[in-house]
């Protein structure tokens, strides 16, 4: 038996500069530098600000990751990097850096899919992923349901948001309620003191007709508008807005749709493992609701701890390690950063 692969992972698809080190499915380092504080005052991630921050943070984050892991670059078996999807300029900083590290250290390069990396990170906490599995990835930029037949190369999209991402809805509703950006954590906190059934907000794409064409798709734009109308109506009458109740009812609507569709996907496809990842998977209500509902159907739920749900380099390293172990060929030095990388492309080598 050979040693498990030691892989470095670099992630720069949005506002986090993440560098992780993984051996097999063991996490050795997870260094993250975030430019979120710079974006908060604009109420959203500013691409150029994020790209500048990635360049500034790269070498320091690398040093921190290697030091924490207690390895040298010359020790690693491969360098993996998020090649897409994400913000084009931000991705490019990580891809160029990964090529340079790989070239200088004489190591193979793996350009990988950000969404598959969100799935792979769970192996660091719960071990190898049973295949097939259904994965639901929910973050500020993504809301997708995937059928993962083989984490090293066969991932099928079942559905995705047709408008806002789930995390984006949290950000927008937080702004309506005067809560800070990013909106996920403050809404989660505010909701704990609220009544989740006090306001009946709409559940997008769950009607009988929607289920024909959009069975596994999501829509959160209408929900966000419904919250805005409700809050405006309150304000017009001069009544105080019950922030906790609105937060709880909104969160309940999001989690209800997400968990319902994820479990429907498992049952439809006869899959008994459901993996939830992405920043919104850190939401306490979503974790509880998915777990409870899945148990009723004998579906095993895997959700990484919150720190691994948000963007980081460890998830990229985890996928890289899986690809190395599966003997997937590496990428060439001329791979692009692809802001629209399709979910079916797990690594840029399998394009060949």
């Amino acid at each position: 038996m050979t040693d498990e692969p030691l892989v470095l992972g670099i992630e720069t698809s949005c506002d986090e500069t993440g560098i992780g080190v993984v051996r097999g499915t063991t996490l050795l380092a997870d260094a993250v530098a975030s430019s979120m504080a710079e974006h908060a005052k604009f109420g959203g991630v500013v691409p150029e600000v994020a790209s500048r921050a990635h360049l500034e943070a790269m070498a320091g984050t690398m040093r921190q990751a290697l030091d924490t892991a207690g390895v040298r670059l010359s020790d690693v078996d491969a360098v993996a990097v998020t090649a897409g999807p994400g913000l084009a300029g931000a991705l490019l900083v990580g891809v160029a850096a990964a090529k340079a590290y790989a070239l200088a250290a004489g190591k193979p390069l793996y350009g990988v899919n950000h969404l598959s990396a969100h799935v792979a990170v769970d192996t660091l906490e719960h071990g190898p992923l049973p295949e097939p599995a259904i994965a639901m990835l929910v973050s500020g930029g993504h809301s997708s349901l995937l059928m993962v037949e083989d984490l090293a190369g066969r991932v099928e999209p079942l559905g995705a948001t047709i408008d806002d991402a789930a995390g984006e809805a949290f950000d927008k509703v937080a702004r309506l309620l005067g809560l800070p950006f990013p909106g996920g954590p403050p809404i989660d906190r505010a909701a704990r003191d609220g009544d989740p059934v006090s306001i009946d907000f709409p559940r997008g794409l769950t009607g009988p007709r929607d289920l024909v064409r959009h069975r596994f798709d999501f829509s959160f734009s209408g929900l966000k508008t419904a919250v805005a109308r409700w809050v405006e109506a309150r304000e017009r009458t001069g009544e105080p807005v019950p922030v906790a109740d609105v937060a709880a009812s909104f969160q309940e609507a999001v989690c209800d749709v997400l968990s319902r569709k994820a479990i429907d996907a498992c049952r439809t496809r006869g899959v008994d493992t459901l993996l939830v990842g992405g920043g919104v998977a850190a939401n306490s209500r979503l974790r509880a609701m998915v777990t409870e509902r899945a148990a009723a159907y004998g579906i095993t739920v895997r959700i990484p701890r919150p720190k691994l749900c948000t963007d980081n380099g460890a998830m990229v390293a985890a996928l890289g390690s899986h690809l190395v172990a599966a003997a997937v060929p590496p990428s060439t030095l001329d791979i692009p950063a692809d802001s629209a990388l399709p979910v079916t492309t797990v690594s840029l080598a399998d394009r060949l």
């Binding site: 949005c14 974006h39 604009f42 959203g44 500013v46 691409p47 150029e48 600000v49 994020a50 790209s51 500048r52 990635h54 360049l55 790269m58 070498a59 690398m62 040093r63 670059l73 897409g84 999807p85 994400g86 913000l87 084009a88 300029g89 490019l92 900083v93 891809v95 160029a96 850096a97 990964a98 090529k99 340079a100 590290y101 070239l103 200088a104 250290a105 969404l115 930029g141 993504h142 809301s143 997708s144 999209p157 079942l158 559905g159 995705a160 948001t161 047709i162 408008d163 806002d164 991402a165 984006e168 596994f216 060439t332 030095l333 001329d334 791979i335 692009p336 950063a337 802001s339 979910v343």
Partner: protein, 224 residues
Amino acid sequence: MLVLGVDTATAAVTAVLAEVDADGVRELASAVTVDGRAHGERLAPSVAEVLTRAGRTVGELSAVVAGTGPGPFTGLRVGLVTATAMAQALGVPTYGVCSLDALGAAAGPGRVLVATDARRREVYWARYVDGVRTDGPAVAKPADVHVDAERAVGDGAGKYAEVLGVRIVPEPRYPVGAVLVGLAAERILAGAPGEVLEPRYLRRPDVTPAAPAATRPAAAGTPR
């Protein structure tokens, strides 16, 4: 000493391998690709290519020199992060050189204006006397550049020749790799401490938050 030079401040993606010693700078191999949208794809293969062509290995490098701009942001960062990461991995110093200097110092004697394309109908410019920068770098509309030169070089000068109203010399059009390395030669030979490569953006970021998810590539998951 074997030195790698990279510049991505213009539409040209440049990698050069040079030997630097007390006698000067000797270019061993260079690769230039003119494609304003392929910096990220072309630079690393170009670095590998110049090493192969010169029959040298990456481990023999003693320093990395990078053009620090000014230049369009996205492309510029490719050169800087590549130089930074390679040097970090190899444990060698990085030195920064203003990219316009690698045109100005290559443009010969006299009073020369260097102007490169800054997009948005603007140029990055600097003025030189006998190859030494006397003004700039700055970014401006071509009509607002105080020309005060006998001739002008650079792709921006060619593009806005009529507005600038000065004799345009076609070459150098882009930063010259060996000249870029030469401008750091003193520091390299003196064993000067390496420098953090600071990009010369000259413009603040446009503050427009990222497009919402629906217009983002996340829609990759559209069902068939």
